[in-house]
């Protein structure tokens, strides 16, 4: 397969002598592929996207898009990319139509081609009837959709979406995920960043897991799950509001427990076998004076992978 994006040994730090926001990251994205970068907030996902999109200069390493180096030929790179930033980068005082026209002009479109694109994108995001309304009057979900449409103007070869579902309602989130899937089916190459494990699992052809600026795992969903072997995951909900962290620590010494982490009122326990460890896990909780309200058994997933690789939950 042809690599549309090549990232080689990318380093980025914002201040000389400071910590690396991106630390020796390498990956490729193939044409027509949906590649997700999964990692917690502050992991370096946006920095990677900003470097590929020519907004930031790499401290070291090389990044090529469609064969063009981002440092040597940034304009050529900009011509083939579309970016949907995390922020709603729109002009509230302009209408939806005016926003699309402005951003289309900035991408070099004009005349009939621009008008055609605007009409097409408005229909795509189902905002044709609100085209003449100012963006300031739109709901958060409508703004997100318009934000996506702007990124698609000019039908870029590579579309980069930086956490497009942050802070929106479930209905709009669903809409966006379905929309991304449709784009993928149309053959658009997509780089998608998220800290939601479920989104990465649902959408991606391949996933890169990034933490503290380092790409700690890369592969298809199946390949990543293989990393944790045939392990399973227990999710314990406690009656008590506190004590989760203490339980997670205590479970570390239980035979068959690979890792445990307390987060958001639940304790996630990565185990070799649920059958062999469940009784011991509950006994440790009881021994600490904690009552287990509910237990769920999960198939190995990206959460388990992240826990396995970092010792922390993805949501930490």
């Amino acid at each position: 397969m042809t690599a549309l994006v090549e990232v080689q040994n990318l380093y980025k730090r914002y201040t000389p002598g400071g910590a690396y926001a991106v630390d020796d990251v390498s990956f490729e994205i193939h044409a027509g592929e949906l590649f997700s970068l999964l990692g917690p907030n502050g992991a370096g996902k946006t920095t990677v996207i900003s470097t590929i999109s020519t907004l930031l200069r790499p401290t070291a390493g090389a990044v090529r898009v469609d064969g063009c180096d981002v440092q040597r030929d940034p304009m050529a790179v900009r011509r083939v990319i579309g970016v949907v930033p995390q922020e709603l980068a729109l002009y509230d005082d302009l209408t939806a139509y005016e926003n699309l026209r402005f951003w289309g002009e900035m991408r070099g479109l004009h005349g009939a081609a621009l008008q055609h694109e605007i009409a097409e994108k408005l229909a795509l995001i189902e905002l044709a009837d609100r085209a003449k309304d100012r963006v300031a009057t739109f709901s958060g979900g409508m703004k997100r959709r318009l934000n996506l449409a702007v990124g698609l103007l000019g039908n870029p070869k590579l579309l980069m979406l930086d956490e497009p579902t942050v802070a929106i309602d479930p209905q709009s989130r669903r809409y966006i995920l379905d929309w991304v899937k449709r784009l993928r089916e149309q053959g658009v190459t997509i780089l998608y960043t998220t800290h939601y494990m479920e989104e990465a699992q649902e959408l991606s052809d391949r996933i890169g897991i990034i933490d503290h600026g380092k790409l700690i795992a890369l592969g298809t969903l199946d390949e990543l799950i293989q990393l944790v072997g045939q392990h399973e995951m227990l999710s314990l909900r406690l009656v008590q509001e506190t004590g989760g962290a203490e339980l997670a620590t205590a479970l570390g010494s239980v035979a068959g427990v690979i890792g445990a982490n307390a987060t958001n009122g639940e304790v996630l326990v990565n185990v070799t076998s649920v059958e062999a460890t469940l009784t011991a896990v509950v006994a440790v909780a009881t021994g600490l004076g904690l009552s287990v309200r509910a237990i769920e058994i999960h198939e190995p997933n990206l959460e388990a992978v992240f826990l396995h690789l970092t010792g922390r939950a993805l949501r930490d």
Binding site: A89, F102, W103, M106, H110
Partner: protein
Amino acid sequence: MRKLLVLSGKEVLVTFRDVGALLMMLATPLALTLVMMAAFGSGSSTPISDIPVLLLNRDEGAFGQRLADVFFSPSVGNLVTATLVTDETAARARVEADEVAALVVIPADFSAHMFPFGVRAQELTGLDVTALASDTPLTPEQQAGLAQAFLQSRTPANPVVVEIYASPDWRISTLVVKAIVSQGLEQLNVQIAGTMQIISRLMVEMAKAGREPADLAGGLQSGVAAHEAAGLPIKLSITSATGRGFSWLGYYASSMAVLFLMFAVTSGGRTLLAERQRGTLPRLLITPTPPLVVLLGKMGGIVLTGILQMLILWGATALIGAYWGYPVAVLAAIVLLVLCASSVGAFISAWARTPGQAGAIGSAVTLIGGALSGSFFVRWNLPQWVQYLSLITPNAWGIEIFGRLQAGRAPSTILPWLGGMILLTVIYYALALVGFRRQFK
């Protein structure tokens, strides 16, 4: 070029859709101009000191000298520094060279117009009637002479003109000189009225004593009343060396426009930081548009907005009577002033870290610059060092240039000022460029 225009057009559209911005850019300066006009009137007056004035007294009578003496009287104090001159051409040249505020020309027949009876009485009797008291003993010849003088004296049909030939660069001072001349004329008039009352009483006494016909005394009394009713047969005329005097309305129309132009452009500059924070600037920078075009488009929008703002304020204040000067020169001054103001806005945006910081610095710079340069107080009344210091602000250059144009100065006289403003623009934009390079490195 197309992208530059699209970027600038977007900027203007966004600004003119913002009700708050319109209120700040247009409504507030107009309202403040009207308030200033209401407070000071559309004419002018203001306290000042040591105004250099030349006096040319062509009058050979006592009243011309008395009017000239007013400029040296204790009541005027140190308000003016007057010098008597005889060479009119040289005196007018000094005014035109802005060496002095004004030349006051007392015409040759000033006394004859001011007090024709007194002049004739002095000719016939040798008496200075203004020095008479009600109990001054008069000889029968003097009494007869006074009566004859009254019968022979007539107020001239056309009033005589005291001219104040004023320098357009001494706008406020001219008005002070006018006030002093008016005060002097009023003093002379009061003196004449008092003299006429005394003469009238003397005549009545003479009539009672049977020394003069009763109809003469009656005629004298009615003559005194007519003199008081008619007022001064003197006309005061201010002639500017360029044909235009100072006007509060014009001054505040332009100075307020400049002040609020500064508010608008510093606020416009702040939007660059706001766009960065909101994410639209990074999004622009990853479109296939060179960063310089993005920056120029943004600044172009701010400049276009500023020019539109100034044109609207020029038109609106002209409708209420403000004169700004020769239109082509005003237009050129507006364009260069807006460029200069936008350079300060760019400079602040380039070095501030956040939109809030840029807003605070922009407001402080605008208000302090406004105070230093004469947006709140008449510029030419400020100490000289303040006037020099204020030249670091576009406000000062704008007010100077518009002041000159409003005074009727030839457009060519503002060329050095326009040049200075261009230099200031280049300096601020160069400093802004350094800041932007630092920000977007």
